[in-house]
């Protein structure tokens, strides 16, 4: 089916994570391929969010966090990289939409301005950036007339897509989605999923979700986590049609979780 040659973007080698003495992730090995949507499913406490937050080192702010093993991004160890630099290459969308308390326009230019991604902060450059980011996040048509109104006034689904646009504005290579639809209604969810499928052409996406059906709808490949272990990873059709492990089968058929 896929004719493009497969390129690996990220390697996760023997990654174990701990909060205090508690091991939340044990010896995970997997690769993330360029321009795929890797979905990660599993019941709560399976370590999938901890895994995701390790990939752009958001866990480093927790003083109890520690880990062993390595993660390579284009052959570079992320734990040796500058943390801010890493996060501009690996963006993250949170479970709850978190618009910053400013206008829609300011939300999008906020990070590029701070990071000095645009030359000399020219107004027209910024305008273009905002338009492109909002279009890519399929929000442009809904907000183009009120870019200067507060982002807090948008609906939940719009806020979440604004957050996507905000990430697109810094042009990362990988985008991590942490249960991005858990607080949204089905229609907003469908819109966010649609957006993800479009973004796949340009970006590499890792999606953590509690919603097994969502994984089957958007995932190129799917990984199943349980109790801190990676149980199985394979093409999404395979996982859903003929999983190798019994636990995977039990989970996706709804026998537990």
């Amino acid at each position: 089916m896929e004719t493009k040659s497969i390129q690996n973007k990220m390697f996760v080698e023997n990654l174990s994570c701990y909060f205090g003495n508690k091991c939340v992730l044990e010896k995970v090995n997997l690769t993330i391929q360029k321009n795929e949507i890797l979905t990660i499913i599993g019941p709560s406490n399976s370590g999938k969010t901890s895994f995701l937050r390790t990939l752009n080192r958001m866990n480093d702010f927790n003083p109890n966090f520690s880990r062993t093993g390595n993660v390579l991004l284009d052959d570079e160890n992320i734990f040796h990289m500058n943390m801010e630099k890493l996060r501009t290459r690996v963006g993250m969308l949170f479970a709850m939409p978190i618009p910053l308390p400013m206008t829609i326009y300011e939300n999008i230019v906020y990070a590029p301005k701070r990071l000095r991604l645009t030359k000399r902060e020219k107004k027209s450059d910024l305008d273009l950036l905002v338009e492109q980011a909002l279009k890519d996040a399929s929000l442009w048509d809904e907000v183009k007339d009120r870019l200067n109104s507060s982002a807090m006034k948008l609906s939940g689904g719009q806020q979440q897509r604004l957050c996507i646009a905000r990430i697109l504005a810094i042009d990362p290579e990988i985008i991590l989605f942490d249960e991005p639809c858990s607080g949204l209604d089905p229609i907003s969810t469908a819109k966010v999923e649609e957006t993800m499928l479009v973004l796949k052409d340009k970006y590499t996406i890792v999606l953590v979700t509690n919603n097994v059906k969502q994984a089957s709808r958007v995932g190129s490949r799917t990984a199943f986590f349980l109790m801190g272990h990676l149980i199985e990873i394979d093409a999404t059709e395979k996982i859903f049609v003929s999983p190798k492990e019994k636990q995977t089968n039990d989970y996706i058929t709804g026998r537990f979780g």
Binding site: M58, P63, E84, R87, T88, I98, Y110, I167
Partner: protein, 284 residues
């Protein structure tokens, strides 16, 4: 004993509680009323801008006003930047370990130490040990150390009220810690920090005990020339003329009290209104 039915006992209770609230509020109204009634006749342009005469029994209180303003603004200039920075450090950077917790607890509790103890400390350190003498600068340092815990505590409260998720959202975009604080946390905490600062200015404008032996002078017939000068100060002046000078005209004492009260209350009212305004306008 008469057993009241719940309905009527409810009415009695609500009446009693209203009464208590009135008792709690009425003193401040009476105090303000008494001072205005007896003091307004003394207020004139001359009273506000002239030097005292006749052993302070007539003339104005200009040097005391200037003295208080110079001490108070020097103090807030010292304490506000240090206090806000310390609050940022404790809230945003310090690791959550035992030492940090002890420091936070100590700072909260220092806000309750009596002002006269700070006065004594300031006298020992700034006036005597560092040799500033009784001066504006000694008084300003004393007041700023006294106000430091208060500023740190209110600033920390303001920083804390900015949701953690805003910080995470900004950090996740690759923005550095300081940039996040500078562009997300501080702008949203600013109203809280500023109202806290105004309340602090109001509070230290009326403080007498800390400047009693660090800055205030009984009578100085001219305006201060340097930060090492002694000055007259409004609250101390009020204390002196109401307790130490015989045959003091009543309306001058009340007039002085009125000026002090207007200075302090107007700032407090601004702060209280600003706080209600910002609380209602908050975006999250």
């Amino acid at each position: 004993m008469i057993k009241l039915n719940p309905k009527s006992s409810q009415k009695i209770v609500s009446f009693l509680l209203l009464l208590a609230t009135i008792i709690a509020i009425i003193p401040v109204v009476i105090i303000i009323f008494i001072i205005i009634k007896n003091g307004y006749s003394a207020i004139s342009w001359e009273f506000l801008t002239a030097l005292p005469k006749d052993g302070m029994r007539s003339g104005g209180i200009f040097p005391a006003i200037v003295g208080t303003l110079s001490i108070v603004f020097s103090a807030i200039l010292i304490t506000l930047p240090i206090g806000v920075c310390a609050a940022i450090y404790l809230n945003e950077y310090a690791k959550d370990n035992l030492l940090t917790r002890i420091i936070k607890l100590t700072i909260v509790n220092l806000a309750g130490i009596p002002s006269v103890v700070y006065g004594l400390f300031g006298f020992g350190i700034f006036v005597m040990f560092l040799g500033f003498g009784v001066s504006i600068i000694a008084g300003a340092f004393t007041l700023s150390i006294m106000e430091l815990p208060v500023i740190i505590t209110t600033a920390r409260g303001a920083l804390n009220s900015v949701p953690q998720s805003f910080r995470e959202a900004s950090l996740a975009l690759g923005v550095s810690r300081w940039q996040t604080i500078r562009h997300i946390v501080l702008p949203n905490a600013l109203p809280g920090i500023l109202t806290g600062a105004i309340l602090s200015i109001a509070r230290i404008s009326g403080e007498t005990a800390p400047i009693l032996f660090t800055a205030a002078a009984f009578y100085v017939p001219h305006l201060p020339q340097s930060p090492f000068d002694q000055v007259m100060a409004l609250p101390y002046h009020l204390y002196i003329i109401s307790t130490q000078i015989p045959n003091m005209p009543k309306n001058i004492i009340f007039g002085t009290a009125l000026v002090l009260l207007i200075m302090v209350l107007s700032m407090s009212i601004v702060a209280i209104i600003a706080r209600i305004y910002f609380r209602n306008r908050r975006k999250w």
